[in-house]
Symmetry: C2
Subunit: 284 residues, 2 copies
């Protein structure tokens, strides 16, 4: 059991992580830090954190682990803020959606990647957000990707991996590059497509919504995601996102050409294979 | 009250339409026709149709209205089949997803567009399909587009419009050209995007599904739509679908360029406007 963990940012993901750690008796005391005292008070009332302070030097006293659970764009300021108050023995991790940029920022702030800073990304639903949606079970059966670097401490990877596994998560280890490529394809690209479709529709016809059928509501749901968060993801993973937008455009061009050339059979085959894969992925 | 209506095809949309007509006492007798007797038997057992026959000349005897509720690709064969057995007094309508092609086929078969053939498209959810999913309330608060032509009989438009309105539908009249353009944008384009995304993912990485987050399941749901139906929609509305795929490609290029050029503010604005529109469309 870890004696003392500090959580910076008490939103859905960070809050759910420490709530899970407490529920599985993996931590004795969780101390919270945030710029918004109201969030910390709420988290304390809900039993998600035990203590909090607005003074970072107080918060970091005697902690064994710091979890950064704020938007990636705030990481540099946060790492600079915590750096004077921790030594090399403290484990650092995060829950950010992009990993290459996190490593880059850490190297910038610390001069090199600290051996006990293990970047992590739990791939869990984020439709709701904020402390009210916190769920200690959120990561059960969900995938969590750790992206250690060459200088990472093996034992620290094992400790962090163990914490997530106790919450029911499937932990996978890969390079930050592979993570950012994969997620650009499976998560960032779909969000760009959904935002892009809304942009296209409202630019063309302000009354387009009258003519959308049932499936559109589900299809467009991710376009209701937080705009600031997605701006930050784009800024932090530009190369991979652009690569996959461009790759996807080739697929659209292929479909467009099949339609133009009246290729009924090829269209049916493409639709059928897409349908089979999707049915297979979500058989439940 | 209409004495006798013939429904050709007893799937979700056709079945729900006649079930609604019966529930609102707008028709005395519904007689069904289909190539599959098992469907007709089931429909009769469920009380959706009163009678059926596999002999089209029997089915059409003394009917005042024929509703074609089969895939658009079967329309030519169906119109040729019914033509010898009906006179000009019989009202014809359909529930197909494309309207220009329906009018084109009708002109081909009848020499000109019959004055009492009023094409219709109820824009209603089609996630489930088949006779089992029939729901007499399916069109309540849903939009139904009628696309009469210059030669359409005004009184017939009023009769058909009245039937749909009694089911709670919002009836709108527009040209087939406008319908096919609008629906290519609001329905056909999103389906192409979803099928295209699945095609792109499985071509790139067969294990991509491991790294999709919560929102992906909803986003990709329409890629589980019937492949044959969507092949037919593409074949029947190629020009408009291609036009909107190409227009959408420009939007994707715009987003891609914003990301490439690190335009954080413009990205945030685009995402925020897309989100606001989507939240506004589906405020419930």
């Amino acid at each position: 059991m870890i004696d003392r963990i500090c959580i910076i940012g008490v939103g859905l993901i960070g809050g759910s992580f420490v709530a899970g750690l407490k529920q599985t008796n993996q931590v004795k005391t969780v101390i919270g830090f945030s710029r918004q005292e109201s969030h910390l008070r709420k988290a304390q009332e809900m039993g998600i954190i035990d203590e909090y302070s607005l003074d970072i030097s107080q918060v970091l006293k005697q902690v064994q682990m710091v979890i950064i659970a704020t938007p990636v764009n705030s990481f540099q300021a946060i790492l600079e803020m915590i750096k004077p108050h921790i030594d090399e023995s403290v484990i650092i991790s995060d829950v950010g959606s992009t990993k290459g940029s996190v490593i880059q920022i850490a190297k910038l702030v610390f001069g090199q990647m600290p051996a006990k800073f293990i970047p992590a990304h739990p791939i869990a639903g984020k439709e709701k957000s904020g402390i009210e949606a916190v769920d200690a079970q959120l990561f059960n059966h969900k995938r969590v990707v750790l992206t250690p670097t060459e200088s990472s401490d093996i034992q620290t990877i094992a400790i962090l991996s163990g914490l997530w596994k106790e919450l029911g998560a499937k932990v996978e280890i890969m390079t930050d590059k592979k993570h950012d490529d994969l997620l650009a394809m499976t998560s960032h690209l779909p969000h760009m497509l959904a935002y892009g479709l809304m942009d296209y529709l409202i630019s063309n016809n302000p009354y387009a919504c009258r003519y959308v059928a049932g499936g559109f509501k589900d299809f467009s749901r991710i376009a209701s995601s937080d705009a600031l968060m997605w701006r930050d993801i784009c800024i932090n993973n530009p190369k991979e996102i652009v690569k996959h937008i461009e790759g996807y455009q080739k697929t659209l061009e292929k479909i467009s050409n099949l339609i133009k050339n009246n290729k009924a059979e090829a269209l049916e085959q493409l639709f059928q294979e897409a349908k089979s894969a999707r049915d297979n992925w979500f058989s439940s």
